[in-house]
């Protein structure tokens, strides 16, 4: 069982990072992910993938 982060077309093994630590790390490397939308997807084999996307801003 492995936890992974997905952003765009790339994946990253989270290793022993918690989701909160992963969020902080991604925000530092990708400033647009300072307040990300995170979708959790669990595969049948137990692997969990957290898909990071930039939250759409509101215009106006």
């Amino acid at each position: 069982m492995a936890n992974k982060i997905k952003y765009g077309d790339r994946e990253l093994d989270m290793g022993e990072l918690t989701l909160e630590q992963a969020k902080q790390l991604m925000a530092r490397h990708f400033p647009e992910l300072a307040d990300p939308q995170v979708d959790k997807k669990e595969a049948k084999n137990g692997d969990v993938t957290y898909t990071f996307t930039k939250k759409a801003g509101r215009k106006g």
């Binding site: 994946e11 990253l12 990072l17 530092r28 990708f30 647009e32």
Partner: protein
């Protein structure tokens, strides 16, 4: 006066700065651990975790790993147009993962050695350290310098004492080196 080196002028236009971020995690059972992530702008980082005492080796490994791998430029799908594009302007010029290494690149990813950069081993200048400027012309000035160093030493000891220290199974303090 400290000399400032011009880094930007020696940088090739196709080279991107590499960001290495070190995060020290809260100690568990007196053991400090850290996370080192490294990546050029717009690329997925290499992430390494390890003991605080291995921080220098981890940083070297992260640096070498980024140079050794193919570029991992992140491309995202535009929700409006449905087109995929990289998240940085520079990266738009090249397809992710297909960049050929330049012939002039100093590090080819072979072996474990880090690239040697001329002038990279210059020690930090004393002007980088904030010490009170005291003219050492008489005895009183010498005494003030001694006092200043004593204060610095005492502050360093206090800071060291306030930090959590790694301990072995017997509870003895371990030097992180």
């Amino acid at each position: 006066m400290s000399k400032k080196k011009s880094v930007a002028s020696s940088q090739k236009p196709d080279e991107k700065a590499l960001t290495i971020i070190t995060t020290i995690l809260p100690p568990k059972k007196g053991v400090r651990r850290l996370v080192i992530s490294a990546a050029p702008e717009g690329e997925m980082p290499v992430v390494l975790t390890g003991a605080f005492s291995d921080r220098h080796a981890l940083m070297d490994r992260a640096y070498a790993a980024v140079l050794r791998r193919d570029p991992q430029v992140v491309t995202v799908k535009d929700m409006m147009t449905g087109n995929s594009k990289s998240i940085t302007a520079d990266a738009d010029e090249e397809e992710p993962g297909n960049r050929e290494p330049d012939k002039d690149e100093p590090f080819k990813g072979e072996g474990e050695e880090l690239p040697a950069i001329e002038g990279d081993d210059v020690a930090a200048e004393i002007s980088d350290i904030s010490l009170p400027e005291i003219a050492a012309t008489d005895e009183a000035a010498d005494k003030r310098i001694d006092d200043a160093f004593d204060l610095s030493l005492e502050a360093a000891r206090e800071m060291d004492a306030s930090l959590p220290h790694k301990r072995d199974d017997d509870g003895d303090e371990v030097d992180d080196g």
